[in-house]
Assembly symmetry: C3
C-alpha cells in the first residue's frame, strides 16, 4: 500500500505547511468520512466548520482560507484544493490491470490488420479486416473492432465495447465498458406505397479526436453520409446517446444519460447536464451550458445557460418556476 509523510505530500503539491503531525498518510477521503491516516481537503468556508469534528489530522486547504489546524494536526495550503487533491489521487492511484501476454492467443485478429508497437490485445477480442491500431493501444478482453477502423496511439478500450466498421479514433482516448461506436443511425422514410418504413442507409462513419473519454454503455451512431464527429478532448459520461451526423467541437462535456438527436451541433466547451436532451438539427454554440434535465428545442447562443423543458434562459425559467409556485398557493 502506498503511503506518504506530510513532508512528502507538501513536496508533491508544492504547498505550504501550517501546523504539523507525524501521522503517515495512506489515503484520501472527504471531511466527514476521513480516518486518522487519511488526508482530507477544505476548499471553502462552508467546509471549514467540519474540520473540528473530522478524524483526519491533515487537510489540503485553499490558501485564501484563514483557519488554523490545531495541535498535532496540519494543513497543506495550496492555490486550488480541488486540483491538489486530484494530483494526490494520482499518487495514490493504482495501475490499470496489466497483461501477462501482449496479444492473447484467444484474440482473433484478421491477417490484414496492423497492430502498432507495444499494443496489447486481450482474450476474446476480435479485430476485423484492415483495422489499424497505433502504438501502445490497449484493448481489454472481449473488445470487438470491425473492418477498416483506425485507432490512435495510447488509446485504451475496455471490455464489451464494439467499434463498427470505418470508425476513426484518435490518440489518448479512453472508452469504458460496453460502448457502441458507429452503429447505423436511426432513420426511416414511409414507403412509397404508404405501407411500412424504409430504412435509410447510413454510409458515413464516426470520427473521434484525441483525448476523448466515453463512458460505459454510451452510443455514438455513424452518419448518414460524411461523419459524426467528436472534437479533441470531449468527455462523455455513461449511457449517453449521440445520434447520427452530430458534430461536437473541442472539450465538450456530456453528463450521464443525456442525449443528442440526429444532426445536433455543439461548439467548443459546451456542457450538457445529466439527462438533458437536445432536439435534432439544433446548434448549441461555444461555451453554452444546458442544465441537467432540460429539453432543448432551439439553438442556444454562445456562453448562455439554458434550463427547463422547453429550455430557455435559466433566469427566465427560474422566474417561471417561482411564478407558478406562487400562483398555486
Amino acid at each position: 500500500m502506498v503511503s506518504f509523510t506530510i513532508e512528502e505530500i507538501k513536496t508533491i503539491l508544492q504547498g505550504k505547511l501550517k501546523g504539523n503531525t507525524s501521522q503517515i498518510i495512506t489515503g484520501l477521503d472527504e471531511l466527514k468520512n476521513a480516518k486518522r491516516d487519511q488526508i482530507t481537503f477544505i476548499r471553502s468556508k462552508k467546509f471549514a466548520c467540519l474540520w473540528d469534528t473530522s478524524n483526519a489530522c491533515v487537510a489540503i486547504v485553499n490558501e485564501t482560507l484563514d483557519i488554523e489546524p490545531g495541535p498535532d494536526r496540519a494543513f497543506i495550503m495550496v492555490k486550488n484544493a480541488d486540483f491538489a487533491m486530484s494530483k494526490l489521487l494520482e499518487e495514490f492511484g493504482l495501475e490499470d490491470p496489466v497483461f501477462d501476454i501482449d496479444i492473447h492467443p484467444t484474440a482473433v485478429i484478421h491477417e490484414s490488420a496492423i497492430v502498432g508497437v507495444g499494443s496489447k490485445i486481450g482474450a476474446g477480442c476480435y479485430i476485423g479486416k484492415d483495422v489499424v491500431l497505433g502504438d501502445s493501444v490497449v484493448l481489454y478482453p472481449n473488445v470487438t473492432v470491425f473492418d477498416d477502423s483506425v485507432i490512435g496511439n495510447n488509446t485504451v478500450i475496455w471490455s464489451g465495447t464494439v467499434i463498427r466498421e470505418r470508425s476513426e479514433i484518435g490518440s489518448d482516448c479512453i472508452f469504458h465498458n460496453n460502448v457502441s461506436i458507429g452503429a447505423d443511425g436511426f432513420g426511416y422514410l414511409p414507403n412509397e406505397d404508404g405501407r411500412g418504413l424504409w430504412k435509410i442507409p447510413h454510409i458515413g462513419n464516426v470520427i473521434i479526436g484525441n483525448g476523448v473519454e466515453i463512458g460505459a454503455n454510451s452510443c455514438i451512431d455513424r452518419a448518414k453520409f460524411s461523419s459524426t464527429i467528436l472534437g479533441d478532448g470531449c468527455k462523455i459520461d455513461n449511457l449517453v446517446q449521440i445520434g447520427h451526423n452530430c458534430k461536437l467541437g473541442r472539450f465538450c462535456i456530456m453528463a450521464g444519460s443525456s442525449g443528442l438527436a440526429g444532426s445536433v451541433t455543439l461548439g467548443d466547451g459546451v456542457v450538457i447536464g445529466g439527462s438533458a436532451s437536445i432536439k435534432d438539427h439544433v446548434t448549441i454554440h461555444s461555451g453554452a451550458t444546458v442544465a441537467a434535465g432540460s429539453g432543448v428545442m432551439n439553438d442556444v447562443p454562445a456562453g448562455k445557460t439554458v434550463l427547463g423543458y422547453p429550455a430557455c434562459d435559466s433566469r427566465e425559467m427560474l422566474k417561471q418556476w417561482v411564478t407558478l409556485r406562487k400562483l398555486a398557493k
Copy 2:
C-alpha cells in the same frame, strides 16, 4: 470507390435532368458541406437559397420546386428528394463486414442447436441448447444466444448483443451492438413479514416480429407470464427501455433514450419521441405520437399528438407554456 455519371444517377432515380455537367459523382453530402464531386439535395424552398453558394454541381431536387441549376450545374428532378437521396445512399453504400469463415472455430455452439443454411457465426459467439437459427442469419463476433431461442431467416445480430432463453425473433431483423433481449422483468413484492423485497419470477418470454430493428444498448425485458411483444416492422433506437409485458403493434417507432414501463400497449404506427417515457399499463392507440421528452401518464387516443410532462394534447401544452412565460414577465 464507387462513382457515377449524372446520366447514371438520373437512371437510378428515374428522374428528369435540368441543366448538365460532366462532373463524376463520388458521394453525397448536404448543401453546405458538399464538395464539387458530391451530389446534394434540395427538398424545399428553404434550402433552395443555399444552392448558389454550394460547392456541389449536382442536386436532387423536388420536382415541385421552380429553380434553375445555372451554368455547368445540373438538377435531377424527382417526386421525393428525401426518398431519392436515400435510394442513392444505397448505391454508394458499402457492404457489411464479410466473414472469411462461415462458422468461426472459436464460436461455442451447443450440439443440440440447429443452424440454417448459409448462416454465419462469428468468433466468440455462444449458442445455447436447442437454439434454432434460420437460414442466412448473421451473428457477428461475441454474440450470446441462450437456450431454446429461435431466430428467423436473414436476421443480423451485431456484437455484444445477448438474447436470453426462449426468445422468439422474426426474419429480416437487425439488432445492433450490446442489445439485451429477454432479461427478467423488474418486479418485486414486499415480503409477507414486511421486511425486504420478494422477486416476482418472470416465466414469460420476448416475441419479436419480422423486419424489426433494435438500436445499440437497448433492452427488452421478458414477460412475467405470456410475452413481451414487438410487432412487425418496429424500429427502436439506441438506449431504449421496453419493460416486461409491453405489447407494441406494427411499425412503431421509439427514438433514442425513450422508455416504456411494464405492461404498456402501443397500437400500430405509434411514434415515441426521444427521451419520452410512458407509465406502466398505459395504452397509446394507433397512429398517436408522443413528442420528445414527454412523460405520459394516461392513455392516448388514436392519432393524437401529446406533449409535455405530464403529457396532454400538444396544442394545450403549448398554450400552457405560453401562458406561464407571459405570467413570469
Copy 3:
C-alpha cells in the same frame, strides 16, 4: 410442460376453494388474455367485472372480495392475490440455462484467481488476477471480471457484464446482461493554464451488498476515493446510471432509465421512479419516493413523495399542474 390440478394449486397457495372444475392448469395469464387452461387472478373489485367474459375457469382471488365463480369454474381465495400469483409463477417457472461443463475450456482464468466450490464459468469469460469467486457463483458466457474483484456465494452474472478491478460484490446477487460495474467516475477539472480538461483519477471502488439485482445495461461507477456503495437488497432496473461515490442504503428501488449523479445518498427503502434523475450531492432520506420522470435538485425528507421538475412535494406539484392548466384556458 408443468401442469397442476386445482387441488394442487390450492395446496401450494394454502388458499380456500370456492366452486370447482376438473380443468388441468398449464400456465397463468391476466383476465383478458387467459385461456381455458390458464389460471388468472383478481386482486380488486375493478378487475372482478372482467371475470364473466374471461376464458379462464380458475382465478386466484383476494379473500376480501365477495364474488362467486359460477358453474364449472373455481376461485382460490387467498390473503394476497399478487403474492399468491407470484408464488405460482415460481412453480411454473423454468430453470435457468444449465451448464454442460462447469468451467468452460475457452474461459480465460488467471492462475492467481480463486474459484469457489460449485461455481460455473461460461465460454469466453475472462477472470483477472487475484479475483475471488465464492461458492456456487454462476458467470454466463462472455462475462469479464477484472483484477482483485471479489464475488460472493450464489451470485449470478449474465453475459456481457463487465466488473472492473477491485469491485466487491456480495452473495445472492443477480446482474443482468451488459452491466458495467466499477468504471471510472466522471470528473474533470479545467487545466491550470485554463486550456482543456484534466481527468480526476478515481482510485476508489464499488461495494455491492447481498441480494442486489442490477438490470441490463446499467452502470455503477467507482468512487473518486473510498467507495460507491449499494446496500443489501437494492433492486436496480435496466439502463440506470449510478455515479461515483453514491451511497444507497438497503432495499432501495430504482426503475428503468433513472439516474443518480455523483455523490448522491439514498437512505433505506428509497424508491426512484422510471426516468427520474437526481442532482449530485443530494440526499434522499429513508422511505422517500421520487415519482417517475422527476428531476430532484434538493434533499428529500424521510417518507416524503416528490414529483415534477424541479421536484417538490407531490401534492404541491399536482396543484401547480392544475393551476397552469386552468390559467391556459
